[in-house]
Every structure is written in C-alpha cells, then in structure tokens.
Amino acid sequence: MNGVAIEATDLGKRYGRTWALRDCSLTIPSGHVVGLVGPNGAGKTTFLSMAVGLTPPTTGEVRVLGRHAAGSPDALDMVAFVAQDAALYRNLSVAEMLRVGRSLNRRWDEASARARLAETGIPLDRRIGALSGGQRAQVALTLALAKRPGLLVLDEPLAALDPLARHEFMASLMAAVADDGVSVVFSSHVVAELERVCDYLVVVQDGQVQVSGSVEELTYEHHVLVGPADQADEVASLFPVVRDRRAFAQAHLLVRATGAHNVPPGWQRHPVTLEELVLTYMREPAAAALPGPKAVAR
C-alpha cells in the first residue's frame, strides 16, 4: 500500500497563451483519501485530467500507481475517473449503462456493481435521465469502482449534490475505501467536508501546488499562538508565520512549527482546523507548506 498514487514532474499545461498549470511537481502517496482544493481556475481539473490520461501535458510528465505513464493501457486499466458532469448516457437504463461499462473495460466486477446499486436502492430498469442527481452520482461511482481500480479520481463529485446526497455519496465512497483499500484523489470546493474524509491534502493556487501533506501532519504542525502584541515581533521571529493578525493589544499568529514547539511564556497555543488552514493558505498566495522548508510569507 505504501507506493505512489500520482507523481507529477515539471508538469504543465498551456491553453493558447495561458498556463492552466505550470511547474507542478508533486508526489501523492497511495493508500490515502486525498483532497485537492483551490479556487476556481487554479488548475485542479487540468491536473486531474492529465493524471487520468484524458489531456496530454504541454511540459513534464505524470505517472500513476508507481510507474505507469498516465494514459498508457496499464494506467487506464488501474485508474478510474468520475468527471464533474458524471458522463452517463441519459437515455440508457442503469442495467444498460452497466453493460456499456463492462464492454469498455478489461477489468470488471459485475457482482459488486450490482450489490452496490442494490445497497443504494437504485432500480436497474430506471433510465439514467430519470434518476436524481444523487442517484446519478452513485451510478457513476459504481461504474468507476466496478473496474476494481487501484486509484479512483473524482473531479468535484459533490458540486451538484444536495447535503443529503453529499453525505450518502461520501459514505459510499468511504465504504469502498474500507472494503477495497482503493486510493482516492478528489477535487472539491467544499472545504468543510474535507476534514471528515481526507487524510491527505493538496492545495493548488494559480496553477501551482501551494500546500501538500498528510492532514495529520499539517494540523499537528500548524497552530495559532495568541499573546500580547508588543511581543509579537519577537515570537514571529521564532517560527515560520503563515498568517499574522494584530490589534493594538493582542496578536494571533498562525505558525508552522515542527518538532518540540514550546509556547512562549504568556502566550496560548490553539489548534487549527483543516478548514481554517486551507482558507488561510488560500488567502495567502505567497505562503507555502510543501514537504520540506519553504519560504513563508508574513
């Protein structure tokens, strides 16, 4: 399980004069549920579509599950993709959609697909177009998992779903992770829901990776120090500061400090939630939290 799910080296994609993604080098280990977050236009969809082999890169390369070039026949066998709009044929029935999936894939687990549909209560004879958005998403997930992929990539799977459908979709996805140990990478806007689901986080900003790491490490390494403003400069010089907020008496410093982090006397340390961390980094485009020391903005 301790391999590499996606490895990008100097990956870039240019559309006309605009770089959708540039100089992207990152390694995502397998065996995780990875959240890929970032503002609209940050390059998330571009990155994912190159990782699954749908879009050829302009520069660099991307490999999946250890060694396979994205888009190669072996990679296509082992990687499943659920696109933003859940590409399904609306006029087909669920059973017919299953047959299409079976004929398009070399690996196919029909029994588990049918069991999953039965579990979610989706009738096989219903037309795709007559299903609710949540049910369509479940069918798309079922088709993707029926390939028995080593890596499942989902682009904004929650975007069009209501809160109940979101919960049910994520519950199905997490059950699949518990059952098969499939590695999952998904992009999302729904930062609040990441904390329950993701154990690895990648933040993309302006076509580049800004933060990457395991959620446990990121939340362990970051905290907010609260103390008197007149000592803030001194304290800020001790740790890399991601966000510095001060009033005339009090200062809040969101710092990244590894190892034994002693709290200065008179200061209090508060943990940060993943949501706060993500939003902070998204607001501070110059700050970075990649593995290894990087420049951090004030």
Binding site: H32, A171, V177, A178, S214, E216, N262, R269
Partner: protein, 157 residues
C-alpha cells in the same frame, strides 16, 4: 424507526461543532457507553465499514480510534472478526470522578467569589490545561496523534 442491524450494541454519532477531533469523539463515546453499561465485556464495537458507511468518515479515523482504545486496554482486535470489549471501566474511576467533580465545584465557588464568570473560569481552566501540556504532561496525546497512517487494511473485519 432506524434499527442498526450491525453486530454492535452501540452506534456512533458526530458533533461537527464540538472542536473535538473525530477519532477522539469515537473514543469518548465508547468510554461513555462502557460507563453507562451499554457496552460490556465481550461486546463488539461497530465494524469499521459500518461506521464509515454511516458517518461518511475516513476509515483511518475509525482505526485510529480503535487503536487508541486498544492502547488504553479497553478493547482488543481479533483478526478477521472485529474489535471487542476487553475490560469495563472500573467503578472506582467513577467514584474518583465524583470526588474530583466535588473539588472542582469548590474551586468554582472560590472563582465565583473572586468575581469570575463562567467564561472566565472556562478560559482559566483551558489556559491551565495548556500550561500543563506545555510542561510535558501532554506528551502521550501528542504521540498518539502521529505515525498512524497507511494501515487501512489492518483490522477491518
């Protein structure tokens, strides 16, 4: 009515606004169920897949909670079967708690007399707890927060 047909006498719920990490909420709910007698020695904890499928949380979170409970000597995993209660929380602990609660109430009365309101007491308690952690008493918790990844396949019944 929604009846859980799993093998465990208990079900979990999450309080997203509590600020308590998810795995710790699961740990606390098992301990609470042990104190209340909803869980007894030999009972099975909810299966990882059932928890994950019900709450939509990462399986590693459940495994981490179960490992923490194992570390505390309360449960044990049986390969291929699940996780089972090994030891009930002793009633002496309950009596100790009652004593501690009494002394805390006395402390609160003193704080009240000194002019502190509820929020003030709470802030003071939290700050003192943090001082204690900073002084090195919280190391065990820190250790448990780390180094527990990539073990998803282990212990799933």
């Amino acid at each position: 009515m929604d009846i859980d047909k799993g093998p465990s006498p208990i079900v979990f719920r999450l309080d997203p606004g509590s600020g308590v990490p998810t795995y710790l909420q699961l740990v606390q709910q098992v301990e609470q169920a042990l104190r209340l007698g909803h869980l007894q020695v030999g009972d099975q904890l909810p299966r990882v897949r059932d928890v994950v499928g019900g709450l939509a949380i990462n399986p590693n979170t459940v495994l981490k909670a179960y490992r923490e409970l194992e570390h505390r000597g309360l449960v044990a995993g049986r390969r291929g079967q699940g996780t089972f209660v090994e030891r009930a929380l002793d009633r002496a602990g309950l009596r100790e708690q009652a004593g501690l609660r009494r002394s805390l109430l006395e402390w609160m009365a003193a704080a009240d007399a000194a002019g502190l309101d509820d929020a003030g007491m709470s802030a003071l308690f939290t700050a003192a707890l943090q001082d204690r952690h900073t002084a090195g008493h919280g190391e065990r918790d820190d250790r448990n927060e780390r180094g527990e990844r990539n073990e998803r396949t282990e212990g799933i019944a």
